[in-house]
């Protein structure tokens, strides 16, 4: 046993050396270098890929403020930590990366501060109306938009050619193409309608005119999740699902990845960030020829653009120097040099107009799409015409209930109207428990 203990002690020593002097001190937790050590330090959580050069660029060019960046986890992992830290009253970073859909939740519980009071309104003209309003409440902005998810239709040109499909511009044509694929006996489905595609479905409902939430004052709230538009859209998709013209597997799984690139689906309705993701899986099907077209419309005379995902930087209520924190949130992606890194290395879709509308971005050709200038062709229009969407102050719950509803209809357990009514009822009851005066 002595030998065992000795070995244990040696291992512990080794571990201590390996981990170095990692105890304590916020300074040691940065994943980047602090270049001006006497400047005010602002801690930041973000999970963008290849983010370090962007932070370094900021620190190089700012003498008075330095960013101490940490990747505290992607999406929910980060939110779990952020919420716990807010609840505990300490431990939150000064600046935090949030997806637009959770921003209203953090506004509602006071976790993030009103940036308009810190002078952020001067930046408003740098962003599209929709992008800005997604991060705002009552005319005040709470987070600075970074990247967006304007939606287009990615499709397999080779498969479309093979089965003689024309690129659909309306949802009716989309459904007709789906039928054609089946009639031709193709193994390929038109697309997937995933049970966990909550953000996707919310955007599709919005395209038909659904505006489920309206927040007026502190406690008044409109909830309208089973409106006509949502019913129309869910019925449309459920029809395709029941006819087995589209798939229903969960998104963001390894299987889904495989199916996206191996020709299981002829098209994907997706945000501008998906191509960057797909690139990691290229080569699976050498014959694949990807192209992008605008998202199909209900009324081609009055096209409506939608958005899925996208993120922003907010300042937490625990920030010691809120002014400096706001400087970071505003400035980190406020230069062309930073954006070139973001676009080239992280495949982000910029919301910052000076780069969004630049010729560089407009004319950028993408190898993945056979050299197509996808921004000029599709995503720029989608981004600039997007009008914004009001999420609820408890969007995670809303999404969970939507997941239940969509799974119920996908599996044929409920009719769309019934599922949406249940969705509405569950959300209204939760809102009332939270003390909101709800109008339906």
């Amino acid at each position: 046993m002595k030998r065992l203990l000795a070995a244990g002690g040696a291992l512990a020593l080794l571990a201590v050396t390996l981990t170095g002097c990692s105890g304590g001190g916020s300074g040691s937790s940065c994943q980047n270098k602090i270049m001006h050590s006497d400047a005010t330090q602002v801690s930041m959580w973000a999970w963008y890929p290849n983010f370090k050069p962007v932070v370094n660029l900021f620190n190089k060019t700012h003498k008075k403020v330095q960013i101490c960046w940490t990747n505290a986890g992607a999406g929910n992992d980060e939110y779990t930590k952020f919420s716990t830290a807010i609840q505990a009253g300490s431990g939150a970073p000064d600046v935090v990366m949030l997806e637009s859909e959770v921003v209203p939740s953090y506004i509602a519980d006071g976790s993030i501060v009103n940036l308009s009071t810190l002078g952020a309104d001067k930046l408003k003209d740098n962003y599209s109306e929709g992008a800005w309003s997604d991060e705002s409440k009552g005319g005040d902005v709470y987070a600075i938009p970074v990247d967006g998810g304007p939606v287009g239709m990615l499709y397999r040109k080779d498969l479309f050619d093979k089965y003689g499909l024309t690129v659909p511009t309306t949802w009716d044509e989309f459904a007709a193409d789906a039928q054609k694929l089946k009639d031709a006996g193709a193994k390929t489905l038109m697309t997937d309608f995933p049970g966990n595609g909550r953000a996707y479905q919310t955007a599709l409902f919005a395209q038909a005119g659904s505006e489920p939430f309206e927040l007026t004052g502190k406690t008044d709230m409109k909830v309208d999740l089973d409106d006509q538009a949502s019913n129309k859209v869910l019925s449309y998709w459920n029809d395709l699902v029941q006819k087995k013209l589209v798939g229903t597997e969960d998104a963001s799984t390894t299987d889904y990845n495989t199916h996206l690139v191996n020709g299981t689906y002829a098209s994907v309705i997706a945000a501008a960030w998906l191509p960057g993701y797909l690139q990691g899986f290229t080569g699976a099907d050498k014959s694949a020829q990807w192209r992008v077209a605008p998202v199909p419309q209900w009324d081609p005379a009055n096209p409506v653009q939608i958005n899925i995902g996208g993120s922003a930087f907010a300042v937490s209520n625990q920030a010691k120097d809120k002014k400096a924190a706001a400087t970071v949130a505003e400035g980190i992606f406020g230069t062309e040099a930073a954006w070139k890194l973001g676009i080239e290395k992280a495949a982000l879709f910029p919301l910052w107009k000076p780069i969004l509308e630049s010729d560089y971005f407009k004319e950028k050709a993408y190898d993945f799409f056979g050299g197509q200038q996808i921004n000029k062709d599709v995503f720029l229009t989608a981004a600039t015409e997007y009008k914004g969407f009001q999420f609820s102050p408890f969007q995670n719950l809303v999404y969970d209930k939507l997941t239940d509803a969509v799974n119920a209809t996908n599996k044929g357990k409920q009719q769309p109207a019934q599922a949406l009514a249940g969705y509405q009822k569950a959300v209204v009851s939760y809102a009332k428990q939270q003390g909101y005066k709800v109008t339906e």
């Binding site: 390996l18 937790s29 929910n76 609840q87 099907d285």
Partner: protein, 316 residues
């Protein structure tokens, strides 16, 4: 299923009188043909068990030799190697990921498991001995609390623990992981039951009559007798800390401090939301493969010690 499973080990220490190299009925029989046929069936069942328990490991080994592309293209069987052997490419990509974070996570896991495991063992041995050898006021109630704490769901403790650690400025330090890991009620229970059985009262009394103080009695008489159980408790505590996920998930926001469990979880969610077109799934798989090697190897080499706690009767 987490903490409670550790508990079941208590039986190990209380199991006595083994290790006599006993002859089993089957083993005692000769080598005649019908007997051998009788032995075939149990061996076939065991072989089926091995396939069931080992197949996932085989898959993991094979998958970690594939590039992201060949993982997903479906050209080779998931249970056989692809034409191109990418294990070393994966390992080097893994150790280069984000400035060598992976090595850091492994080192952290070692540190937490060994520091937390040693701490838990010391505390538990003392407490178990105290419970067993001294009749002090409040002992019964105290021990009942120890047993009852098994039933507390971990979710209930996380937020208060975070708040306390945060107030003490200990979140995002190694102590946030090491200190709570020293709480191991099962180990106390194990040591208490074992001390009851393994330390004869006459020996303790004799030592006292010889004028030995309580500490001396503990150090010279009790400790050597407790040795097998101590090793078992140490191994259990180390494995328990190594496998912990929930506590470090909440306590650490700094990835430099993640243990391997949380680090791999983070790598996986990064792979899921990844927008930069990096290949990460092959790193997740290779990372999972490498991360289980230390514990598996220690299980294989320390088998003797796992059984040390099992065959206690042979000590005396």
């Amino acid at each position: 299923m987490t903490a409670a499973d550790t508990t079941a080990d208590t039986t190990i220490a209380v199991t006595r009188g083994a290790g006599r190299g006993k002859q089993t009925p089957a083993g005692r029989t000769g080598r005649s043909a019908p007997r051998r046929r009788a032995l075939a069936i149990p061996h076939i069942i065991l072989a089926a068990f091995i396939v069931y328990f080992a197949l996932p490991f085989w898959w993991l080994i094979v998958a970690s030799t594939k590039s992201q592309q060949s993982l997903f293209d479906g050209k080779t069987s998931p249970l056989w190697f692809a034409s191109h052997f990418d294990l070393f490419a994966n390992i080097s990509a893994l150790f280069n990921y984000s400035g060598g974070l992976y090595a850091r996570w492994l080192g952290n896991s070692f540190l937490y498991a060994i520091a937390g495991g040693l701490g838990a063992t010391v505390v538990s041995v003392l407490a178990g001995y105290g419970f067993a050898q001294y009749a002090f006021r409040g002992r019964r109630a105290f021990f009942a609390i120890v047993l009852g704490s098994v039933m507390v769901p971990a979710t209930v403790l996380v937020i208060p623990l975070f708040v306390m650690m945060s107030a003490a400025h200990l979140t995002n330090t190694v102590w946030a992981m090491i200190l709570p890991s020293m709480l191991n009620p099962f180990a106390v229970y194990l040591m208490k039951v074992y001390s009851d059985e393994a330390i004869p009262a006459e020996m303790i009394d004799a030592a006292r009559v010889d004028g030995a103080g309580e500490l001396r009695v503990f150090g010279r008489v009790a400790l050597p007798l407790l040795r097998p159980a101590i090793v078992t408790v140490l191994l259990l505590s180390i494995v328990g800390t190594w496998n912990n996920f929930f506590l470090p998930l909440v306590m650490f926001s700094n990835p430099q401090l993640f243990p391997i469990t949380v680090g791999l979880g983070a790598l996986q969610s990064q792979a899921q939301v990844n927008t930069g077109g990096q290949a990460l799934w092959n790193l997740v798989i290779t990372g999972a493969f490498l991360s289980i090697i230390p514990l598996v190897v220690s299980f294989l080499t320390l088998q003797r010690y796992w059984q040390g706690g099992l065959s206690i009767g042979s000590v005396k």
